[in-house]
């Protein structure tokens, strides 16, 4: 595929993303027409002297600006971080079937979340209640950073990180953390268990402007960083030794990739719980369409990750509206069969090649 086609693909992706944002904020249990949205935006952003004369506009305004818009933006941010980190980690492991969860990011976050759900009332009784909503993301974040570092340390000896060992120790740490969570589950009350289960299934219901503000800073900074890595990621595909012959500081590069990717995913998981398969499937799809060059792959994965998560969130919101289903149910229901298809497809391809 030529350069121009790749750029056209990215532009199409971007336009469909914009369209799906519009569809997503228009649709919901409360109907808001495009005309009303137009009026709300004009009223709030003071564009011209357009006459606003609609009853109940303030209700729509609240629904649109304080519920649906931040939720859509959060979906964009989280989807982008999952897609890009998936692409980076698949590049790092030189394996297109790697998911950010493999190196302990999600399970660590789950452990952190479980700890705070279990012990919040025990440790923080005197704490101002305002702090409680922030404790869960902070602990989830800490948990994900700690497990990822642990996995990284286990795979590193004599300043060299063995990627295969990292994958294996990731599996071991995930299993270990899973059983620790299991122990907590035995001791948990029904309410705690319910809270935890829903957290693990993920969801964007926490979205408000504050969350959007915090996560946009925390997600966008590492994303900007990754675009400096695009050429280096390509070269890393050749192998560790080859990358070193081409002048890269390979161990430093690996560390940078692991830190930025796990930080992005850590932030996403902390605010939205575990969302499966987006990080796995997105880069794979983009690679099928425009090839493995990270220059385009990273942007494409970011855009497609946002798009997929936005669609999944819309389905999760609308399918049994006004109630919602956790988003991971949607992503996994669609993602898991697709993943199996990818594995079979890859098997078929390697037979030819």
């Amino acid at each position: 595929m030529s350069q121009i086609n790749k750029i056209i693909f990215l532009i199409i992706l971007f336009i469909s993303l914009l369209l799906s944002v519009c569809v997503s904020i228009v649709s919901g249990p409360i109907d808001i027409s495009l005309n009303q949205i137009f009026q709300i935006f004009i009223k709030n952003f003071g564009l011209g002297n357009y006459q606003v004369n609609e009853q109940n506009l303030h209700i729509y305004e609240t629904v649109l600006l304080n519920i649906r818009l931040p939720r859509a933006i959060l979906a964009l941010l989280v989807g982008m971080s999952l897609g890009i980190s998936g692409a980076m980690l698949q590049g790092l492991f030189r394996n297109p079937l790697v998911d950010p969860g493999f190196i302990g990011i999600s399970s660590g976050a789950a452990l952190g979340a479980m700890c705070i759900i279990m012990f919040a009332n025990f440790f923080f009784t005197n704490l101002n209640k305002i702090w409680l909503p922030y404790l869960l993301p902070i602990f989830a974040m800490l948990g994900s950073i700690m497990t990822t570092l642990l996995v990284y340390k286990m795979a590193t000896s004599e300043r060299k990180t063995n990627i295969m060992t990292m994958l294996l120790s990731g599996i071991a740490v995930n299993a270990f953390v899973g059983s620790v969570i299991g122990l907590f589950v035995i001791k948990s009350t029904d309410l705690q268990l319910r809270t935890f289960t829903f957290w693990t299934l993920g969801g964007l219901d926490n979205a408000n402007w504050e969350v959007v503000g915090i996560s946009s800073v925390l997600i966008c900074i590492p994303i900007l960083l990754t675009f400096f890595l695009k050429d280096k990621l390509d070269i890393l595909m050749l192998g560790d030794a080859e990358a070193a012959y081409l002048g890269l500081k390979v161990e430093k590069l690996k560390k940078t990739i692991i830190i930025t990717a796990s930080f992005m995913v850590g932030v996403s998981v902390s605010f939205c719980g575990m969302i499966g398969f987006i990080g796995l499937v997105t880069p794979h799809l983009v690679r099928l369409c425009i090839g493995p060059n990270h220059k385009y792959l990273l942007i494409g994965s970011g855009l497609l990750g946002s798009l997929l998560l936005l669609i999944a969130d819309s389905i999760a919101r609308l399918i049994i509206a006004p109630a919602q289903i956790p988003i991971s149910i949607v992503t996994s229901l669609i993602g898991a069969p697709f993943f199996i298809y990818l594995i079979l497809e890859q098997k078929r391809r390697y037979k030819i090649a």
Binding site: N95, G239, A244, L246, G247, L248, K249
Partner: protein
């Protein structure tokens, strides 16, 4: 010792735990040398190349590239001066041949502003050298073993390619002819000779003693982690040394196959 050594090994040893892979190796290589390393399996040839390339750090002793300890070289500067081809190349993503070759220009791109016309010309020269013009838009993964090897060779050569002088640059090749048919083997050796005349130094591990004899100026013979013999081809490759290192009687082979006639 001449002043202008390209590489100097000073009592270099490389160990994993207590197991010596290279032991107490000292030598120096001048610019414009064309050296092949031969020796039995497991004698430490590849490790020696990886030490020369700067990828591995010696357990003891010092390696000097152009008079400066290789540890103190900035990796990117070093990459503009020497390139290396490994034995195994396992690229598992469907990059285009063109992209794989272009990755070789990465160090030069990092270090200097590139003229597009010059880059185009360099790419054309490289594609001509390895007959890759038709493959350029193909997916690397669907290529045959020999084609992949030619692409990797092209990537290695383009890394330090210039349009004028190759002085003081070095290419390290680990079994460059593997997977190549006889036509491309000969073509590669001709290219190596031609570039060597332009001032480019080569160090390569070869399996075929005949090739080492025909296409290099100096030979290193390794045995049991040590550098046993090093010197001019004509002096080093003889029946006694080969019997000493490989435990093989050369005369039997020559009588049987008459290699030189074949070549």
């Amino acid at each position: 010792m001449p002043d202008n050594t390209l590489i100097k090994f000073d009592n270099v040893s490389y160990k994993i735990d207590d197991f010596s892979i290279n032991e107490d190796i000292s030598f120096f290589i001048s610019p414009k040398d064309l050296i092949s390393i031969i020796g039995p399996n497991g004698s430490g040839k590849t490790t020696l190349l990886r030490l020369i390339s700067g990828e591995l750090r010696p357990t003891s002793g010092g390696i000097f590239f152009k008079g400066k300890n290789i540890i103190n070289w900035d990796p990117m500067d070093l990459a503009c001066e020497r390139s290396m081809l490994s034995q195994l190349n396992n690229l598992s993503f469907p990059f285009k041949v063109y992209d794989v070759i272009q990755m070789g220009r990465f160090p030069v791109k990092q270090k200097s502003y590139l003229d597009i016309d010059i880059e185009k010309k360099i790419m054309e020269e490289i594609l001509g050298c390895f007959d890759l013009k038709e493959l350029i838009n193909k997916n690397y993964l669907v290529l045959s073993g020999g084609e992949k090897q030619r692409v990797q060779l092209a990537r290695t050569f383009i890394q330090i390619w210039t349009l004028d002088s190759f002085n003081d640059k070095l290419i390290i090749l680990d079994e460059p002819t593997s997977f190549l048919d006889i036509y491309y083997q000969l073509k590669l050796y001709k290219l190596i000779k031609k570039l060597n005349n332009k001032g480019l130094a080569f160090i390569m591990v070869l399996h075929d003693i005949n090739h080492a004899f025909l296409y290099s100026k100096k030979v290193m013979m390794m045995e049991n982690a040590r550098l046993k013999y090093f010197g001019d081809v004509k002096k080093i490759i003889n029946e006694k040394n080969i019997k000493d290192i490989f435990k093989v009687k050369l005369s039997e082979f020559i009588n049987k196959y008459k290699y030189e006639e074949v070549l």
